[in-house]
Amino acid sequence: MSFPKPQATLRSATGIPTGRLAVWWLIASEVVIFGGLLGSYLMHRLGHPEWADAAAHTNTWIGAFNTFVLLTSSFTAVLAHKAAEAGDGKKAAKLLVLTMGGAVTFVLVKSAEWAYEISHGYTITANNFWSFYYTAAGLHALHVIAGAIIMGIIAADAYRGRELQRVELIGIYWHFVDVVWIFLFPLLYIAK
């Protein structure tokens, strides 16, 4: 069984490889999704002084640690891209696996954090602040999980020297997930 090679990643009618353009389109739509959510949060936060009391219960250190984890995983993702550009698929795959390690760490820390908060009564229905907290961070965590799965598929290919251009594509997506967290961190943790 053989399929013709998809042209999407090779053709480039706009001067941008079509696969990369598709990732940018995806990110443009994600900007509206996360932008709308965070914009709503910001408006409510400014209009409701009582939210500050609720926000005081989030743990800045856990948030800061997860920011560190995501920044580091972005660093390894961009190094994977560099290795792929140099044609070193094995090195790119190893760096992608390290990046996935960051994703797993992030999700584990987040699970422990949520378990602690939920067991102390801060549930998604406790008040509107916590509703936003779990919705925004939860949507972001789903992106982390999805990114890590796709990264695994791409790493397996890259290890065999195949589809190396995809390493850059997952990298761009991963950096976007990082950027979203860069804004979530001050919104949910620092501003008390």
Partner: protein
């Protein structure tokens, strides 16, 4: 793939970590505007570093920049359109009673609990017996579907297949007694064999308050029934 960008990724990475430390340290000074600057100013700087250097937006064609800019403009339009409604709780000839009540409740709740965890926000309404008013509760919760006149004509109810109960209809009262109304309010419509679209509200009211709600619902009953 052919793009060859000479970026010192390690340097960018250490800048990001340094900025992270500053953003965490900022609030320790206890100065409001410094916290805002170190939290959100630095978030912008960090995001820009990642977008330009890791995502390589600097070297990307204009098309992509326009694409992202369009998304940001749409987002700004949304915020600008909604913000006046969300951030103000009163204006010319209008007052957002529910939002004002939420602020008051949230603030007093936090003080009375001394920073303890809430057990669920819905209990807050029942925790202040001094201000309990069945009329206000009805207008806030029930009227959405049942209408402020109790006639079953509320905006929320229009979407349901089975119309919400019409308390001004004599036929409605042929099959109702106090206990059944109380059960329906507390445990939902399904508990008395009518539509489950009638949600259970038992978490909001204690027993005495439920009785008051029943009395208010009965006040819609036509005379002579």
């Amino acid at each position: 793939m052919s793009d060859n960008h000479d970026v010192n990724y390690k340097k960018i990475y250490f800048w990001l970590l340094g900025l992270l430390v500053v953003s965490v340290a900022g609030p320790f000074l206890g100065i409001g505007w410094v916290t805002l600057l170190t939290a959100f100013g630095i978030a912008l700087v960090k995001a820009n570093l990642v977008i330009q250097n890791f995502m390589h937006l600097r070297w990307e064609k204009k098309l992509v920049k326009w694409l992202l800019m369009s998304s940001l403009i749409l987002m700004a339009l949304f915020v600008a359109g909604v913000a006046p409604d969300v951030m103000n709780h009163e204006g010319n000839n209008w007052v957002n009673v529910a939002a004002q009540a939420a602020v008051e409740r949230g603030l007093s709740d936090e003080q009375s609990e001394g920073g303890e965890a809430p057990d669920g926000g819905t209990e807050v309404a029942a925790a202040e017996p001094g201000v309990f008013s069945p009329v206000a509760q009805f207008n806030l919760i029930c009227a959405l579907c049942h209408g402020t006149a109790g006639d079953g004509i509320g905006v929320g109810g229009a979407a349901f297949d089975s119309p919400p109960g019409n308390f001004t209809d004599p036929v409605f009262w042929e099959t109702r007694d106090d206990e059944r109304i109380k059960t329906a309010i507390r445990d939902g419509g399904a508990a008395v064999g009518v539509s489950a679209n009638m949600a259970p509200w038992g978490a909001l009211f204690d027993d005495a308050q439920l009785d008051e709600m029943v009395e208010y619902v009965k006040s819609f009953r036509p005379q002579g029934q």
